[in-house]
Amino acid sequence: MNILAAAGSLAPATRGFLSPTGAEIVFVLVGLAVLGAAVISVGTRQLVHAALWLVVALGGLAIEFLLLTAEFVAWVQVLIYLGSVVVLVLFGLMLTKAPIGRSPDADSGNRWVALLVALAAAGTLVTLVVDAFRTSWIDLGAGGGSASVTGASLFRNWVLPFEALSVLLLAALIGAIVLSRSRQAAAPKPRAGRLRTGKPVGAAPAAKSPAAQSPSSERES
C-alpha cells in the first residue's frame, strides 16, 4: 500500500522515549493540561465550571493540533469549538439550570459503574495503542496542514462529502429552528386545578404510593 509506504515509519524505532524532542515535551505538558481539564470538566459538580474547563481542554487540543502541524484545523477548532460550541453549551446551561455553586444532581447514581467502564476502556485502549504504535514516528514536516494544502485536498478530493455535509448542516439548521419554535398554540397552559391533583402534602413516604401518584402522571405523559 502506498499509504504505508509513504509513511514509512513502521520500521523499528531508532528514537527512544527517553530523549524527547522539544515538541514532544510541549505536547506532553499541554496534553496533561488537556487531560486534567477534561477530567475536571466531567467530574465537577458546578455546571458552568464544567463548560469552562471544557474550554480549557478544547483550547489545549487546538495547541496540540498546532504541534502536529495541522494549523488550519487548529484555527477551525478555535473558531467552531471555542467560539460557537462552548458558547452554545454555556447558553444552554444558563437557559436551563445553572446555579452558582454545586448542583447535587449533576451526577447520576451509576457513577461508579461509569468510572469502572471508563477505566476499563482507558486501560484497554492505552495498552492497545501503546502496543501498536510504540515504534511509530511522525515526521513533522512543516506545511502539511496549512490552509492551502487542506483547502486543495478538501476541494479536489472531498467535494462530494463536503457538499453532503452542507446539506446536513442545512437540515440541522432547519431542524433546530423547527424544534425551538415556540408552540404556544399547541402547548396548553398549566391549569391550576390540574397541578394540585390530590398531592399528599407532607405525608409519609408510604402514603406516596404509585396509586396515589400515577393516575395523573400517566395520563398526562
Partner: protein, 320 residues
C-alpha cells in the same frame, strides 16, 4: 536577534494596545460632545482635557475591587481578562505596513483573527453568569446571542475578501488589493463593519448593555480596574474591528504616498473608521432585541451571501 525582534514586536503591539484605545476613547469624548453641541472634557491635562482618560484610569485604579457575596469568585475575577486578551492577540497579527511591518505574520491570518475574536464572548458570558445578578445574566445571554448571530455575516464577509485575494493571510490580502476592489467589495465591507460594530456591542447595537433596562448588562457588578478592563476591551475592540476593515476592504497601506509611509495610511484609515463608529453611536438610537436579531439574519446574512456570489462570479470572470 530573532528573539529580540519578536520581543520588540510584541512590546510594540502591547504599546499600541494600551495607547490607541485611549486615543479612540478621547476622540469619542470630544467628537460625541461636539456632535451634541457640547465641549466635552476640558480640564484634565490642561489642553482640551487630553488627559481625561488617564485621570479616569487613576480613578478606576483607586476604586475598591468588589466581588458580590453571591458571585462565583474566581470566574467573576477571571472574566475581564478573558474578554480583553483576545483583542491583544488579534492586534499582534494585523499588518500595518508593507515589508513585514506586522506584529507576527500568521499564514491563516484572517481565520486566526476571527477565531480568536470569537473567544471573547466567553468572557462576557462568564461575567454575566458569575455576577449572581439577573440583569447581568440577561446581559450575558443577550451578548452571547448577539455575538453568535453576528459572527456568521462577519465570517462570510471576511471570506469574500479572502476569496478575492486568493489567500487567507492578512498581509497577502492587502498586497492583492486594487482600487477597484472598493466598489467590488462594498457590500462585504458594509456587512463586515456593521457586524463588527454589533460584535463590539456599540450603539446602535448595544442591547446587551442597555442601561435603561438591564443596568449595564454583564458589567453591572464590576468596579474599579476590572470594570476598566471591560471598557478597555470595548475600545480595543473598536481599534481591532476598524483595523481589520481597513486591512480587508480598504486596502490597508495602499495610498498615494510611497510605501515607506504605508503605516500612516493604515492608521489614518483605521481612525477614520473609528470616527465613523463614534458618529454612528451619536446618531442612531438603540435597536430593540428582536430588531437586532432580524437585522442580522434577514439583512446581513443575505447581503454577505450576495457578496460572496458576486466575488465568486467576478473572480471566475477575471481569471479566464
Amino acid at each position: 536577534m530573532n528573539l529580540l525582534d519578536t520581543l520588540l514586536r510584541c512590546v510594540a503591539a502591547l504599546v499600541v494596545f494600551l495607547t490607541f484605545p485611549l486615543i479612540i476613547g478621547q476622540t469619542e469624548h470630544k467628537v460625541m460632545a461636539h456632535m451634541q453641541g457640547r465641549l466635552g472634557p476640558m480640564y484634565a491635562g490642561g489642553f482640551h482635557g487630553w488627559a481625561q482618560l488617564v485621570a479616569d484610569g487613576v480613578k478606576f485604579a483607586q476604586k475598591e475591587d468588589i466581588v458580590p457575596a453571591g458571585a462565583d469568585r474566581r470566574i467573576f475575577q477571571l472574566a475581564p481578562a478573558v474578554s480583553l486578551l483576545p483583542y491583544l492577540f488579534v492586534l499582534l497579527v494585523v499588518p500595518v505596513g508593507p515589508h513585514g511591518f506586522v506584529g507576527q505574520a500568521v499564514d491563516a491570518g484572517i481565520f486566526f483573527v476571527l477565531a480568536v475574536m470569537g473567544v471573547g464572548v466567553i468572557g462576557k458570558l462568564m461575567a454575566g453568569w458569575a455576577s449572581a445578578n439577573k440583569f447581568s445574566l440577561l446581559g450575558g445571554l443577550r451578548t452571547a446571542a448577539q455575538l453568535m448571530s453576528y459572527e456568521l455575516p462577519m465570517v462570510l464577509a471576511a471570506a469574500s475578501a479572502a476569496m478575492a485575494a486568493g489567500t487567507l493571510s492578512l498581509t497577502g490580502i492587502v498586497e492583492a488589493f486594487h482600487w477597484w476592489w472598493l466598489p467590488w467589495q462594498a457590500i462585504g465591507a458594509f456587512v463586515f463593519f456593521t457586524a463588527g460594530l454589533a460584535e463590539l456591542q456599540r450603539p446602535p447595537f448595544d442591547m446587551p448593555v442597555a442601561d435603561s433596562e438591564i443596568i449595564f448588562g454583564a458589567y453591572t457588578e464590576y468596579t474599579g480596574l476590572r470594570f476598566a478592563f471591560f471598557l478597555l476591551s470595548e475600545y480595543a475592540g473598536i481599534l481591532v474591528v476598524c483595523a481589520l476593515t481597513t486591512v480587508l476592504f480598504l486596502g490597508g497601506w495602499h495610498g498615494p504616498l510611497p510605501d515607506s509611509l504605508g503605516w500612516l495610511w493604515t492608521i489614518l484609515k483605521t481612525f477614520a473608521l473609528a470616527f465613523v463608529v463614534i458618529w454612528l453611536r451619536v446618531t442612531y438610537p438603540r435597536l430593540r432585541e428582536d430588531q437586532l436579531m432580524r437585522f442580522a439574519w434577514t439583512v446581513l446574512v443575505p447581503l454577505a451571501l450576495v457578496q460572496l456570489a458576486l466575488t465568486g462570479i467576478i473572480k471566475v470572470a477575471i481569471s479566464q
